[in-house]
Symmetry: D2
Subunit: 339 residues, 4 copies
């Protein structure tokens, strides 16, 4: 890490900083500039704790790390892209996997109709919420285990794999029983108790980026799951919160190639939450393929005007079929540039 | 709620929207403007589900609520400010309560030294984390129950009440046993499973505003706790995430008088997390009194340069003593304007 | 517009609001709900001035417009997409026009080398700054008229058209003399004096979105140019400022299809400023085609490690050639979905 | 500056970076860590151009400055706070100066009534816009020179000094003739042509922080004015744009003590634009004193419900009188902590 001293720092203060650096197990290198002194601390780690303690010493203006704080998820540690297997589906192998379904499981008829429609159009994985994180306590909170059973039934009937959200450590066990992929929602991206528990699960986890999470924080949350034992992590870019109110969120598509540089984990794009507007989902789905994403998650409802949640961003089955047809040539094109 | 039709919407589409409005139990009022038709739906609720479903109908451009989505926490429902009692301390009675202590409980010596120092300077409540939400899995995660016991011992010794964070539903029971106030951290503000469980606890909850939470979402999270049975909720403004990187967060002091208009719940200000910089804590503490806050939460460490977390924003005991001395005349002044 | 009265508003207050609405030339419709009264004001305009004045009346809780504030640039006023002609180039006709060149014109050799390289790879328009908006007064401020002359010489030599930025009303005349398209930079998007002057110019204007400009504000700035007489406006999405620091800005690709819904003006994407990172430019360029953009602006420098500005986001000529090759099949694909 | 090499950088790449550093006139210090090599470049400057060029070299992962980019406005260069004199008023001498008046000058009666009211309550400086930056071309654009004349007449009558905004280089001369302080609005904070021209003016300039300007950018804009010859610069915090929509902007009060650490220029707070809501202005004004501001700018209108702009955030004269009475004891208290 690098420690910048204040312009008027004393020799004693500099010596004191060097001593602390040695105590932490790093080697200090003092570089005396014309305007201020800078100290480089060489060694393993760049631990946040050390940086913060150094920042609090007299004479120190600032201290910052050089090394990235994530390890196991980084490309430096593992050059090759991770392929996550879900039955015979591979995510991260250069192909493009589509997950589709309603925001919430509302009942048998709704989920079966959706599952059949999306399967027919080429989706491989069915999404659907049984436990719902809702901003207001007055909104529909999900069918819970009943919803999970309906998803399992839809899987049975269509051959689709299923992904569904888990909200709390206490529900991990039951969701794990039914789901093929367990999803962590944006609002739980830094629910560290949940992440640790999911590190002990032997099924893939899809981690959605938090509304105000930086790329670094996103990867550190993935690192939580991996350090606790589960290497099967899929990332999902679903838009971040900005000042713009014309869309529900701002879909950060640059995050996809950036994540591809920084991590070996696959990256899925969710243009439904990313925009909140049905008419924008198809163009952004095409862009998600073009930008190098490993797949798509999108909301589909047989009748959005009767959906109990997220209707305005849900595609009708025929719109979803059109999306699948539209992205197909884009997926074919990718052979040229994905390496 | 209000439904704005598209400029080119047809009579049939308008009739269809009116029918749906009636089905939901509202009365539609059609207002034909020169450029477009607007429909007002009158009735209880303005339910999000209804708004979303209407938005999905053909011919509808937009739909939005008129009524605020929170009820029990709102000033419209309860005009009088809530006073939360913690032993003989009242929060929300027009006075100004100070909560101080280290970010993390690190050991007996550290917490006792801090507790005694802050008690002597006039703090009433000791803060200290036993379960720590840390961005990186490699950072110190807290002493867990051992930390709670040390907090209880410090309470015993100093007479201070204690506030400490609970991270997960599974820890609610044990934290409740020890703490006088249970804190929900910013990253858990929308951990709805946790909020529901805390609604069943018979102790006060301090809910911190999420990093990217709007005031409306903040109040809806409080509403979760209240609708599940616990009316003893304290709000805490602790800074929001913006583009500015010179401070750790942007402390939104306007939120304090705004919350005072919208809700009867008391509001605490945390300038330590709000700024992330020791030298800014005192000026912002003075401002927190002046703006009408019900109290302060601030980090104090006997030796910030050895703190395991948050050293750069922690005050030394003598700085905290100075803060308390500085805010005293401001607190006295408030008799003039707080009503 | 819609005026929501406070829950406890009186009949007198409601009458007063209605009178003001009539004075402004609208028709008031009073809708008495169970919890509060709402008044719809019908008529041309929804003027901001009227909304603000109504908001200030006793008993009014909120007032907001139904109509979009922009007119001439809106799709409602003109259904057909505008085609902007620059010599024999058309922007907005369904094709995809590429503008490329260095951040700053640094000298004859540099601009000629770049112009020839980008022309050879298929760019149609040369970009290059002669007047540079720089955050610091100590940074290079541009070659001014000398830079314009070099651009003109490069046009002469290569047949490329040229686009260059104008910073100030006083420079409009001279920039207009040389440029084929005048660019308004992000920091000047709300320099209204400049926008008005550009409304009197008989050449196309490319208006870049401000760092913190909403889509609505962006379109209102375009409206300034159009209402002052110049209909030849091209919009450019170049990233907005968010909390994320891993990229220079957050490129808002959803803005492209959203603008296509709201306005008839063509939309260009600038992934160089949008990401600030050379390695992200190509993937985002592909996405810009896929999402439905009308063209691309990208920075190219013969030797980025010697560029006087924006080196880290500038492509080398061979990288630009690769970009052009990569986007070609995407451009061809668009026949299928652009309508 | 500090250059971090990629983990796999070669000796040749490191040598090349060192050579470039020497070419730029710095001394390179190579520090070989266990995971990567870091190079410190010692010397005057940390020029952005150099940092960007180094970033573009092969093998370089990142490069960043140690030194602050602003010089003349920094506290390191001038320890003593600057006092700006406007007639017999001093801004920055530890006192608290209040600037008040309408958003726009609308006519003689309005500006005279306001001037007399605010003077009577204790304001020293009258604000009022003659040239108005308006988001929409359809909004009132100001009375221009007629407005300036009315301001001068109000000055004559009340003894108040006047501050008014200048929008464009072409208007600098005429505004300078009438105004005592020239204001640069938030939307023009990076209108560099305007800043340079104001550097040649012999009157104080009040520079408002841009909607999405970092503290560093804010100070660099002030540096533009100072490097062009005018040292009389006053800064104004007026709120930044965030995701929160309940207030017009988010007033960043932490910026006040932070600016006091970084610069010797005085800092004014504008809670009217900072919140956009009349009821929040008084609490934030108190906080502005408590946090250490050098003064206040606030909007006052004799009849906000008839104001042509900014009515919802304008105080009535009696509310302004109350504000002045309320802040008085806070101003008196400051003797204790302002140094």
């Amino acid at each position: 890490m690098i420690i910048a001293m204040q312009a008027e720092s004393t020799t004693e203060e500099i010596d004191n900083v060097c001593q602390r650096i040695r105590d932490f197990g790093y080697m200090p290198h003092v570089i005396r500039g014309e305007e201020r002194t800078v100290i480089a601390a060489i060694g393993h780690g760049d631990k946040k704790e050390h940086i913060e303690q150094l920042k609090s010493l007299n004479g120190v203006e600032n201290a910052f790390p050089i090394l990235q704080p994530f390890k196991l998820v980084s490309r430096e540690v593992k050059k090759q892209k991770s392929e996550i297997r879900v039955g015979d589906i591979k995510i991260g192998d250069g192909g493009f996997v589509v997950m589709a379904g309603p925001c919430s499981v509302e009942g048998r008829e709704q989920i079966m109709a959706t599952a059949e429609a999306v399967a027919e159009s080429g989706a491989r994985i069915l999404r659907g919420g049984a436990y719902k994180p809702r901003t207001s306590p007055y909104d529909f909170q999900g069918l819970a285990e009943e919803g999970l059973k309906l998803l399992a039934e839809a899987r049975e009937r269509t051959g689709l794999k299923i992904i569904t959200e888990v909200l709390d450590t206490e529900d991990v066990e039951i969701v794990r029983e039914y789901a093929d992929i367990l999803q962590v929602g944006a609002r739980n991206m830094q629910n560290f108790a949940l992440l640790k528990r999911l590190g002990e699960v032997n099924k893939p986890i899809m981690l959605k980026r938090g509304l105000s999470a930086t790329i670094k924080e996103f990867l550190l949350s993935a690192e939580y799951i991996v350090t606790h034992g589960n290497h099967e992590v899929i990332l999902c870019e679903r838009g971040i919160r900005t000042f713009e109110t014309a869309t529900r969120n701002t879909l950060d598509l640059a995050a996809v190639p950036l994540l591809n540089e920084l991590t070996h984990l696959p990256v899925i794009v969710d243009p439904s939450h990313g925009t909140g507007k049905r008419s924008l989902v198809r163009p952004l789905a095409r862009a998600a393929v073009a930008v190098g994403g490993d797949g798509l998650m999108t909301e589909v409802h047989p009748c959005p005007e009767e959906a109990w949640s997220d209707g305005p961003q849900s595609l009708r089955p025929d719109e979803f079929a059109l999306l699948m047809k539209e992205i197909e040539p884009y997926v074919n094109l990718r052979q040229g540039f994905v390496s």
